[in-house]
């Protein structure tokens, strides 16, 4: 270990990268399948790399299926939920970390407890509630349902972000005569921005990926998000078109890929706040 070994790093790299590629192979295979001509999937012997690259499946997906409609629904649902949840959670987390009042710790505890609450317990009463109030089968019903898990999650993340922010600057502003809310806008918010972006990305991703509530609460194409929408496409087609489905899987992962490429640092930071480090 002490003598320099010029071969060590290349060899380690080779071995680790081989394993990493095996781990993400299903995702690579998804992309490869989505650009193969349909006939090539069923060729014997099989080909690994496409002999010709085609984007026809993506075109079919956009032109001949309800994919874009589902996409629009998903964008509306995830964006609204994220905005709602982040607004409420920023105020709530600020309150939980910087104010003292009776019951504060109990509320913080409650937030953590609800974060662990399985959605299978809430789904049936929520379904009844939506029917009763008359918002069943709407985009709004999913925004409400997603808030049940996204809000505790966001509150928890933001609370640990804000707890780690130094209080001195805020004190200084207050002593200099700023109002409490003035100090919040001018001092606390700018400091909290990275944590807020992190939390917003996580919220967006978990709501974008959600399947269970969507399956139970919505059964019309008008409000169906991508997750249940794409599965409906799979179930309804008699002859499963794998290349089309792989194209759909790639396309619905697009926001995720964008976040990974451009905003990855925020995801790693977000993880540190999820309480895993305990």
């Amino acid at each position: 270990m002490t003598r320099p070994n010029y071969w060590k790093q290349p060899l380690v790299s080779l071995a680790v990268w081989a394993i990493v590629l095996i781990v993400i192979f299903p995702l690579i295979w998804m992309v490869i399948t989505s650009v193969k001509p349909q006939t090539e999937l069923f060729r014997i012997p099989a080909t690994f790399w496409p002999t010709e690259i085609t984007f026809e499946h993506y075109r079919t997906l956009l032109e001949k299926t309800a994919f874009l409609k589902y996409m629009r629904n998903s964008v509306i649902i995830s964006t609204s939920t994220t905005i709602l949840v982040i607004t409420v959670a920023v105020l709530g987390a600020y309150s939980l970390t910087r104010f003292t009042y009776p019951g504060r710790e109990r509320i913080a505890f409650l937030v953590l407890a609800t974060y662990l609450l399985p959605s299978v317990v809430l789904v049936l009463p929520l379904y009844l509630m939506m029917v009763k109030v008359g918002i069943a089968n709407s985009l709004f019903s999913l925004v409400v349902a997603y808030t049940t898990f996204a809000l505790p999650y966001a509150l928890w993340l933001l609370r640990s972000f804000m707890a780690s922010m130094p209080e001195e600057l805020e004190w200084a502003a207050l002593v200099d005569g700023a109002s409490r809310l003035g100090a919040f806008v001018d001092v606390v918010l700018p400091q909290a921005i990275p944590g807020i972006i992190s939390t917003a990305l996580f919220t967006f991703i978990v709501t974008w990926n959600e399947y269970f509530y969507a399956l139970i609460l919505v059964n019309t194409d008008e409000a169906r998000p991508l997750t249940t929408g794409v599965i409906t496409m799979l179930v309804t087609s008699f002859n499963i078109e794998w290349s089309l489905l792989m194209a759909a899987a790639v396309a619905m992962s697009l926001p995720l890929i964008i976040i990974f490429v451009f905003l990855q640092g925020y995801l790693v930071r977000g993880f540190a706040g999820t309480g895993v480090k305990g």
């Binding site: 662990l116 299978v120 509630m129 001195e168 002593v175 139970i216 799979l234 759909a248």
Partner: protein, 309 residues
């Protein structure tokens, strides 16, 4: 302004800041509490209430049956079988997640080329939608054209394609494997973060004592990972136990009911058998089982952070 003068001014302000602003604090938490009451607390109580009714799903008409649902549940084979299946799935997939997760974290902690790229690629399975993961795996599991069966046939391991999802125990093994693939990055991130904080002196000391790589792992690394592993296992037990999407989309609980876990049973009772009251009873059953792990986790968080979770 230095911290000292701030401290001095704090006292001259007369009142301690927190009590002065308690009202604003309460106003800021009010929207959270309102939403919690409406969409979490109320439905939770309603779920318990519903479990005492017999409700026909299409009409949502119901009648009070008292403890009847619970009696039926506890005496039905279906429930106990689903609970057993649930435990097999949870223990199986969680074990693999932890083993693969630790192994991968150790690898990603080594020095190698393009390390940060490798680290982020490994997270992908965790962040893609379960729907995406399931579509890809179902395509790979495909009887005739799936790459796994083609590889098996081409390599001569078997001259029959494997029925990955339609027979037992294959279906259970398949969902456990896909679950491990999907969720092990969670373990990787948490363990990797902890590995980076283990003081290198510990390894140097072990090295001087003549400890080989194997004993360095068992005697230095693992004890240091203990705390984080306990938290990981508690959280992942809760999340794996209540998993619906992955199993439902891969096997639908089949073949017959061999991969039917409790969450799938809830769904089938409510929308297949149209017995929403009974479904609620099953849901409460799930919560009671998970309560043990939730309490352990909450207790742990509370203790380690000295009063505030």
């Amino acid at each position: 302004m230095s911290a000292v003068t701030i401290e001095a001014r704090k006292t001259t302000l007369g009142m301690s800041l927190p009590s002065q602003y308690a009202l604003i604090g309460v106003l800021l938490i009010a929207p959270t509490l309102l939403i919690f009451a409406l969409v979490i607390a109320y439905p939770l109580l309603e779920a318990i209430y519903l479990s005492f009714f017999s409700i026909y799903t299409p009409t949502l008409q119901g009648q009070w049956v008292g403890l009847e649902n619970y009696r039926t549940m506890l005496s039905s084979q279906e429930f106990w079988k689903a609970l057993g299946t649930n435990i097999v799935w949870t223990v199986g997939t969680l074990t693999l997640q932890v083993v693969f997760g630790i192994a991968m974290a150790l690898l990603l902690n080594l020095n190698f080329y393009f390390r940060s790229l490798a680290r982020s690629l490994v997270l992908f399975p965790y962040f893609v939608s379960t729907v995406v993961a399931v579509l890809v795996w179902r395509w790979m599991f495909n009887d005739t054209y799936g790459i796994l069966n083609r590889a098996i046939l081409a390599s001569g391991l078997s001259d029959m394609p494997l029925d990955w999802l339609g027979s037992m125990p294959n279906a259970m093994i398949s969902i456990i494997l896909v679950g491990a693939w999907k969720y092990f990055p969670f373990v990787v991130i948490a363990v990797l973060a902890r590995l980076q904080t283990i003081p290198s002196e510990l390894y140097e000391a072990a090295h001087i004592d003549g400890a080989g790589p194997w004993s360095r792992f068992w005697d230095v690394t693992l004890p240091q990972l203990r705390e984080v592993l306990i938290v990981i296992v508690l959280l992942r037990t809760i999340w794996d136990f209540k998993e619906f999407d992955l199993i439902y989309l891969l096997t639908g609980g089949g073949p017959v009911a061999s991969t039917q876990t409790l969450p799938i049973l809830v769904y089938k009772q409510a929308f297949g058998m149209n017995a929403m009251g009974k479904a609620s009873t099953y849901a409460i059953g799930i919560m009671v089982v998970l309560l043990v792990f939730m309490v352990l986790y909450l207790y742990r968080t509370r203790r380690t952070k000295g009063g505030s979770p």
